[in-house]
Symmetry: C2
Subunit: 332 residues, 2 copies
DNA sequence: CCTAATTAGTTGACATAGGAGACAAACAGA
DNA sequence: TCTGTTTGTCTCCTATGTCAACTAATTAGG
C-alpha cells in the first residue's frame, strides 16, 4: 500500500505532521527565494542541501510555479548556475472588496502583475445578503473567466468584508453596514461558483487593506499597523486628536513604525495628521526613541481588494502543493 | 555517518525542515494531550497512528516529561489502556518580573505547581542597569538553587520587563522607568548564571501578565486582551471613560471577549470599570452582538512573573526536545 | 589547444520519520 | 474456558532530507 499522510481529522488542535508536512514547508521555503537565483544560491540562502533544493525545484517546475530563466553568468570562475524565477503568469489570484455602495475587484498573477481591475457601484449592497451574495458571485465568476482568458487560472479568491469575520470558517459574524450576521459567505460563494472549485477565503477589510499597504503601499517593507476606521464623524481637528490618542494606545502596545490611515480618512489626511501626530508624540511612552509616524494611504479605496489578492498569493507561497495544475504523477 | 539536521544557518527566514522538525512537532502534539489518557486515546485525539504515539511516548517517558500513572479502567470491554500523565515534578520553570521598586519571582514545575514565590522590595532598581542586572542575576541564581533542592531542575528563565523588548534577541530596547536602553538582558543574565546554562528569555511585562490572566486568571480559557497601562494619572471617572475609549479601539480591531485591567488600575476597578464599560458599549461597533467585558485582574502584581513562568512551560511544551535531562542514547 | 581548478547540478546509499497491518496482551461476557 | 474487543508493540513500507561521489560547464594558465 502507498504511504498515507496522517489522518487530517483532528478535532481541536494542530494537524499531525507527516513527511508531506516537511515537504510543504521546504517547498515554501524554496519558493520564497524566487528572485532569479540559481539552485546553489537558494541552497545557500535556505540552509537546505543542494540536492534537496534540486529535488524541490523539480516539483516547483512541474507545478509551473517557477521556470528556468537563463544562465546566471556571474563572470566568476566555475560552472555558471541556471537561474530559476517565479513563473507567475499561469497562476491567478482574485481579491474582492464588498462594501455598502460598491464592489471592488483586483485580479493579479502570482508575480503580482495586475490583470483585471474593476470597481462596480451598487447602492443596493446593503439590502440584505441574498441579493448581495448573488451579485458578488456573478462578478467573481465573470472575473475568473477574464483571468482564465488572460492565461492565468485563478487559484483562489479572497473577499474583504467590512465587519467581524471568522476567518477559519469563512463566516461573516457581523457586518452592521451590510446588515449581515452569521453569514457563511465562503460556503455560499463556493456553491455559487460551482464546478470551478476555487478556494474562497473571507477576511476583514481593514486587515486586508493593511496587508496591501504593507506589501505595496506607503508602509512597504516596514513593520506597520493600519487603521481605517471610518465610523466616527466629528470636527476635523478633534478627530485628529482622537486619532492620535487611539494611535498612542496601539503604539504603546505594539510599537509599530508607521500607522497607516486609510479609507475616508485618507482624503482628510492633510488636516488630520498634524493633530494626530502631535497627540501621538505626547502620549507614546517610547517617543522619541521609537519613532512612530502617521501616514496616509496612497492606495485609496482599492486597498482591501488589492490586499485580498495578495493574501491569496501568500497562501500559495505558504503551501505550493495547493496548486494542483499538474498533479505529481504517482511513482507506482 | 549519522543523519544531520539541515544546517541552522539561515540568515533571514525560517529554518529548513528536517526529520527532527517533524519529530518535534509531533512530540509537542502528543505532550499537549497529557490529561491522563491512554496512548490509544491520544492517537485518536491527535490523528497520529497508534504506533507513532507509542514511539513518541517512549521518548517523552525517557525524558521524564510524562509517566505511566496506572491503568485506565474504563469498565468497558477490551484491554484497558495504560494512562500516561504529565510528570511535572522534575522540570522547573522560573519567571521573574523586574520593576522600579521590586523584583517578583515565581518558580513552578511543569504541571504548574508553585514551588517558589518571592517578592523583593528594592527601590534602587532604577539606578542604572549594572546594579539592577547583578541583583536580578543573584536572585535568579538563588531561586534556581532552591528549585533544584525541591527536585525540579530549572529548564528556563523568563524575565518580564516594563518596556519595549526585542524578544528574539532578548534585548530590552527601551524601559524608561528603569532608564534602560538597548540592554542585552538575556545575554547578560546568561553569563551571570554561568555554568548553569539555563536558557533566558525576555518579554514585555504586560504581555506576560496577559498570559497569566489567560492561563490562570479571570480570563482563563477565554480569548482575551489585557491592558495594564499605568502611566496616566487623572480623575477616576475621567480615567474610566478614557479606558473605555481605549478599550473600544482595541475591541473594534480584535473583538476580544474580555479586556483585563491589571496593575495599579486593578485596585481602582470598582470605580473605574462602570464608566469604562458604558463608554465601551457606546463605541464598539459590534455591541451588543459581540459581548466584550472589562474585568479586573485578580492576580495582582504577581501576574507578570507568573506569566513569565508559564511562558517557559509553553516553550517546553512547544518543543519537548529542549529538555536534555536524559539525552536520547544514540543507537549506533 | 589542453589541463587544472572551481563551481553547479545530479545520483545513489544512508538515516530517520510516520503509516499499515499483523500480532500478542489483557480484559468483559457468555 | 472460549470468544470478541480494545490496547500496545513489532515489522515492513514509503517519504524525505543529508551526504559523498560523480558529471557538467566554465575560467585561468601554460
Amino acid at each position: 500500500m502507498a504511504y498515507k499522510s496522517p489522518s487530517t481529522r483532528t478535532p481541536g488542535g494542530a494537524p499531525p505532521a507527516g513527511p508531506d508536512t516537511l515537504r510543504r514547508a521546504n517547498l515554501s521555503l524554496v519558493l520564497r527565494e524566487h528572485a532569479s537565483r540559481s539552485r546553489a544560491d537558494i541552497a545557500q540562502a535556505t540552509g537546505l542541501h543542494r540536492a534537496t533544493v534540486s529535488n524541490l525545484m523539480a516539483e516547483l517546475l512541474e507545478r509551473r510555479l517557477v521556470r528556468e530563466v537563463g544562465v546566471k553568468h556571474v563572470g566568476a570562475i566555475g560552472r555558471p548556475g541556471r537561474a530559476v524565477a517565479l513563473h507567475g503568469a499561469q497562476v491567478g489570484a482574485v481579491g474582492m472588496e464588498i462594501n455598502v455602495d460598491y464592489i471592488a475587484v483586483h485580479g493579479i498573477d502570482l508575480s503580482g502583475r495586475g490583470l483585471v481591475e474593476r470597481r462596480l457601484v451598487d447602492d443596493a449592497m446593503g439590502s440584505g445578503p441574498d441579493r448581495a451574495v448573488r451579485r458578488v458571485g456573478l462578478v467573481a465568476k465573470e472575473v475568473a473567466e477574464a483571468m482564465r482568458r488572460a492565461g492565468a487560472v485563478p487559484a483562489g479568491i479572497a473577499v474583504a468584508v467590512p465587519g467581524l469575520v471568522d476567518v477559519t470558517r469563512g463566516v461573516v459574524t457581523l457586518a452592521p453596514n451590510l446588515y449581515w450576521r452569521d453569514l457563511p459567505l465562503a460556503e455560499l460563494l463556493s456553491s455559487l461558483l460551482g464546478p470551478l472549485s476555487v478556494p474562497v477565503r473571507v477576511d476583514n477589510d481593514a486587515d486586508l487593506a493593511a496587508l496591501a499597504e504593507y506589501t505595496s503601499g506607503v508602509a512597504a517593507g516596514t513593520p506597520g499597523l493600519a487603521s481605517g476606521d471610518r465610523r466616527m464623524t466629528m470636527a476635523v481637528a478633534q478627530v485628529g486628536e482622537w486619532l492620535g490618542l487611539g494611535g498612542s494606545i496601539l503604539a504603546n502596545l505594539f510599537n509599530p513604525r508607521v500607522i497607516v490611515i486609510g479609507g475616508y480618512f485618507a482624503s482628510l489626511a492633510q488636516w488630520l495628521l498634524p493633530h494626530a501626530q502631535d497627540q501621538l508624540q505626547r502620549l507614546v511612552v517610547a517617543a522619541p526613541a521609537a519613532q512612530c509616524r502617521f501616514v496616509a494611504s496612497t492606495l485609496g479605496f482599492g486597498a482591501a481588494s488589492r490586499g485580498a489578492a495578495s493574501m491569496v498569493i501568500n497562501h500559495i507561497i505558504d503551501d505550493p502543493t495547493t496548486i494542483m495544475d499538474l498533479p505529481r504523477p504517482s511513482p507506482y
